[in-house]
Symmetry: C2
């Protein structure tokens, strides 16, 4: 059997490696557009923060290891442009402009996602960057080295944008952020988002909310060498030496859709719980594919690394004759904003209502350590439940410690379809350096219970 994989990042290489582990005789071919495989994309802001660390530190496994140690036919510089579902083949162009066609018995599309570039003038200018592939990370880092970058404007305020603001401030670069919508983090409870906002401002990041961007223009710098960029938005002109766009990503599903495969939410490739697309010989996994949301039972699009790896494994196992079905995701994520940990899982109030739940919510400010224990800092929590069923639906947290890993307890509760009443009875860990006797999650759930009953 010939197993062909389009895309050599998280989902693709996880699938390739596991397929070979499952069955060393399997013919596994990976077609990767770039020359980078298996790297920590999420680590890029942290690498960019440090001029002394080479970007290739982020490579987890070299291409040669996949080829020589694992026996994977890894073809880099191979850009797939079309799939022929009837003939079971994929075609495209190599780096050297030669065309290629590869036939498959089973195909995995793991093409990932790309940063969304606004269709506006100037976003193609030198000095304007997105950040998704290692190549883009490399370009940003090289640009920072070769140019005198004193100030960067970041368009967008999602988690990559926020991580980049921290990375650039660590290099002592002035950072301004601009976005059209008036909310910093629209999915987040206002009271929690306000804490994040204060942290950004405290660290010298200037936020410009509610400014619709119209274009970017370039003009030669006073030194005649480094050109200056101007981000023009409604009522605001921001000068910059560099612009980073981080307004979200879109699934790389163009040729999948053109081949006739079904696309769904956000034009992500529609997959079943076994990762099969609408064609019985074609799987999709990672940021190009959708997923089931465990809380709603409906489809969702949340492009994150863990799901990509897990889905890659599931495809490999299914190719190998196992019957693996992934229950889905609950939308857990965490990120760092300077000294803050910001985490979420499940649904917020808006999504809860949109999905037909009778949403009850609670906001609680508590503390990270026990009464009278030194070093305690505030933790802010927001939690949502369904009045009808009593089910816990989601949680959000912001704090200086004890947030990133604490959210996982709620994630597991969501996977178990726990009610708030069941959750408040959970035997969570307590010691004075790590939490109050009643863990912040329990304190919040205790309050929420009153609103549910």
């Amino acid at each position: 059997m010939k197993f062909v994989i389009i895309g050599g990042d998280a989902a693709g290489m996880s699938a390739a490696s596991r397929a070979k582990r499952n069955n060393p005789d399997l013919n596994v071919t990976v077609l990767e557009k770039t020359h980078d495989v298996s790297y920590s994309a999420c680590g890029m802001p942290y690498n960019i923060a440090d001029p002394d660390r080479p970007i290739d530190d982020l490579v987890v496994r070299q291409a040669t290891v996949f080829r020589e140690k694992q026996g994977i036919n890894l073809l880099t510089g191979h850009s797939v442009e079309s799939i022929n579902l009837e003939n079971q083949s994929v075609s495209g162009t190599k780096d050297n402009h030669q065309e290629f066609t590869v036939s498959y018995d089973k195909l995995l599309i793991a093409t990932g996602a790309s940063p969304i570039f606004p269709d506006l003038p100037g976003f193609e200018l030198p000095g304007v960057f997105g950040l998704k592939t290692l190549e883009e990370g490399r370009f940003i880092k090289e640009y920072l080295e070769k140019h005198q970058v004193a100030k960067v404007v970041i368009v967008g305020m999602g988690y990559i944008a926020l991580e980049m603001s921290e990375a650039l401030r660590a290099r002592n670069i002035e950072v301004e952020m601009v976005k059209p919508r008036p909310e910093l983090l629209p999915w987040m409870d206002n009271q929690l988002a306000e804490i994040v906002k204060l942290e950004l401002e405290k660290n010298g990041v200037k936020l410009h909310l509610g400014h619709g961007i119209t274009k970017i223009v370039s003009q030669p710098g006073s030194d005649g060498l480094n050109s200056k960029l101007s981000v023009i938005s409604s009522g605001l002109v921001l000068e910059a030496d560099m612009v980073i766009t981080a307004i979200g990503v879109k699934p790389n599903s163009d040729f999948a859709g053109q081949s006739g495969l079904e696309l769904g939410l956000n034009k992500a490739i529609t997959v079943e719980r076994n990762m099969l697309t609408s064609n019985k010989n074609v799987y999709a996994a990672g940021d190009c594919a959708d997923a089931y949301h465990v809380v709603t039972g409906k489809k969702t699009y949340v492009p994150l690394a863990l799901r990509a790896n897990r889905a890659g494994w599931a495809v490999a196992d299914n190719i190998s004759g196992k019957k693996i079905e992934l229950p889905g995701i609950v939308g857990t994520s965490v990120f760092k904003v300077f000294d803050l940990e910001v985490a979420r899982t499940g649904l917020n109030v808006k999504d809860s209502i949109a999905n037909g739940f009778d949403a009850a919510e609670v906001y609680v400010k508590t503390r990270s350590r026990a009464h009278a224990h030194p070093g305690s800092t505030p933790i802010h929590l927001h939690m949502v439940a369904d009045r009808k069923s009593g089910r816990l639906l989601g949680a959000q947290m912001v704090g200086r410690e004890g947030v990133a890993h604490r959210i996982n307890a709620v994630a597991v509760a969501l996977h178990s379809q726990m009610t708030v009443e069941q959750f408040v009875q959970c035997d969570l860990a307590y010691a004075p350096p790590f939490s109050p006797v009643w863990d912040p999650l329990l304190t919040t759930a205790n309050q929420l219970l009153k609103n549910v009953q």
Copy 2:
């Protein structure tokens, strides 16, 4: 109705406060032996570590608040000595040697636990301390101030003993620890216990395992003032200026047992899921009572603060006419040993086998942060599951970060009776500063799954 509570610590005062909140007209009397109520007992080692912090910092709520603001009839210095179940009354002696008798409609026994003192010569000597009540904490702190304590011997190596070793080292006091059994933490996987051992030794704590203690003797110090203590054990004599005994606690259930109430495991007072004892008008809660273990469905004795608070609330709610049943505990705990976080939940291999499970186990060493992220440190995990049902049974963790709160995800999984197969599918949080893509819990569960299937 007259609600009488024996004991004014976690369980007792939680019950009293909640009973008054539920029903402000209720007649609530608390009989407390000491003059301290509502303090953070678990915070004592951390308070003792700092000579500049008064021990009364640990008091969460003053007695006057309970009396004046909450209308609780709080009687301190009232030592209960007997219960008359037939007459529904309790009797005892006050500080001033006067006897008292109080009648009740509903009674809560919340007498807590006391440190076990070995029945050996010398444990009654001045300079030999246990640590459970605030009074004992105060005595230790006063002794440290008034005497030149250069070296302390700690008898026992449970979590209070380990926390005390850290507290004393923080005051630059030499610490030696001694115990009869050869294992540092008998409930813990060897490989994890070894990491804890190295951390103690690295911080200058000398460990003497496998030495059965025979007695403590006292002799005048060379200055004729400060007497020196010698802890005599098999093949070893340890000199000390102070001795702390921390070999575990026993429930304060003597007069409860004498009154005819049923005692169970460890002589803890037997309670049902609604906290009722074998008498329909008498409840017990906190460290004097037993609990159901959610994983085994059997009785267990784990005296910890969260359960005490929760059980106190449950009693108050049941007194007020609600029907509250606590599902039980899963044995979650966490403690700090210098720079290490040590956590557990559920069953270890030995307990799993003793409870009839077909135990599969796995040990995994992984890391606290993503590939190439700076500051990553090792995390050591041990996980147990049942081969027959596939159920997750327990986990243990040791590491420098990301342990204390991470254990809660497993605790919730145990409450949900999750299988390992279900647990590995949980959507846990990932960001490079906080974990690898596959959370250490998932990496370990993925390995465990191979041993279960």
